[in-house]
Symmetry: C2
Subunit: 155 residues, 2 copies
């Protein structure tokens, strides 16, 4: 599986990075797509939000249970967004500000600089909107998302 | 990148498969996780919805522009959910019915039988809910999602 581009962000270290796009509100970055794939970006600009699917390229190991940033208990890694998951795949929904050639400007970033991008998909409310959901161990903690910052536990 | 499990569904052919989870409402399947990773499933059951990230294992080629199921015009592949994307990565939000050992029961499936699973992430409203979004070329067509079925164009 080859990257299709690279994500450039203001965050060169995990420390002090927002832990989710909600905490990165207003933070802008760019996505540089391999020029070979520029034709595939046609029509993307009509979408206000996109999924970025990427590699947690700094994650060097797998931990099947982790203590998430917003918790004090060990949780199964698949019940978290920890980078130490077996596939090392990350997923973020970001706002698409604009497309110019092979360069995308995006907003609300929680992604490390120089992250290899695997795929872009449009966010489509009719497919992706979940009306009512339960968020397990996170339910009581949702308000902390905007203010919590990463540390080095997942390095 | 190694699969962490396999997705078992009633759909052995693309023909007549729902094109999105919205069209697969009520359709149940199971996800069998490699027993080595069962510890990572802890706490997952608290979430009502999960992302499945998987490989479009039947897709044999890449097409940078495609005519989506719900359209009659060519669109850039990154502005669609077509399997013929460079990475061949698929993403679906499904309902989590239950977890028993290394077996997940899931509902609302639009996935082919025997699909290799790359990752599971919890759907967390505070991270993933998008309040207002624009869906580009799809906007006028959202009502067709529930009734449209796949054909063999992406085989």
């Amino acid at each position: 599986m080859e990257p299709i581009g690279i994500i450039l962000t203001p965050f060169s270290n995990l420390q002090d990075m927002p832990i989710q796009p909600g905490g990165g509100e207003g933070v802008e970055g760019t996505v540089v797509i391999d020029p070979d794939y520029v034709e595939g970006l046609q029509d993307l600009e009509g979408f206000s939000h996109i999924y970025l699917i990427y590699l947690f390229h700094r994650a060097r190991r797998v931990e099947l249970t982790v203590v998430p940033f917003m918790d004090s208990e060990e949780r199964g890694v698949f019940a978290t967004r920890s980078p130490l998951r077996p596939s090392h795949i990350g997923l973020s929904i970001v706002e698409l500000v604009g497309v110019a050639g092979n360069i995308l400007t995006v907003r609300n970033l929680d992604i490390l600089n120089s992250t290899p991008l695997l795929d872009i998909k449009p966010y489509i409310a009719a497919f992706d909107h979940v009306d009512k959901s339960r968020s397990g161990w996170l339910t009581a903690k949702e308000e902390q998302i905007r203010t919590t910052r990463a540390d080095d536990r997942f390095v």
